[in-house]
Symmetry: C2
Subunit: 105 residues, 2 copies
């Protein structure tokens, strides 16, 4: 299994609507990806590692798929709609990572 | 529920022993934290978002706990042993983040 992590750097003054992300954007992504998204998780940044340090990322999602190919096949046809929705909740550009799930839940 | 993410930047030339991390370090962390760690996951970086881009992080773990306080109470007494084991699998310094789990599995 692989996961696609989408991470929004915690930039002072930037806009990030956690409610829209949770209630509108991510359910839309799941609906468009269908079975290509096995499940997803959403994080809200609280803090960094050192006392008083800010979280490196204000928000993250992790989309789990059987393979990179399965994800790309599900994402490709809806990429424009999904990417076009980003401005509705943030003015940040996300950092993306594809990982192998070595230990899952 | 909160998660503590420990993320190792993917630095050219750096050392990261994925087998030791999976088979020795993380099971040791779980054993020391006990019930303070509800479960954990481990990721191995495969790629970045753009075609051909490297993964931002070579490896990550995510430790799930009921609260920041529960995690700290479980981690504190074993911090020296856990941190001291890092050099056994990497010469990288991790980036840490504490997040609220907005949507779990």
């Amino acid at each position: 299994m692989i996961k696609v992590s989408v991470m929004y750097p915690n930039t002072p003054g930037a806009r990030f609507d956690h409610e829209y992300y949770r209630d509108k954007h991510m359910p839309m992504v799941k609906a468009r990806l269908g079975a290509a998204c096995k499940f997803y998780t959403v994080d809200k940044g609280l803090a960094g590692g050192a006392p008083g340090a800010p979280a490196p990322y204000v928000g993250m999602c992790h989309i789990y798929a059987d393979s990179v190919e399965a994800f790309q096949k599900g994402f490709g046809p809806h990429a424009n709609e999904i990417m076009g929705d980003i401005t509705n909740y943030t003015d940040l550009s996300p950092v993306m990572q594809i990982s192998e799930v070595v230990v899952g839940q």
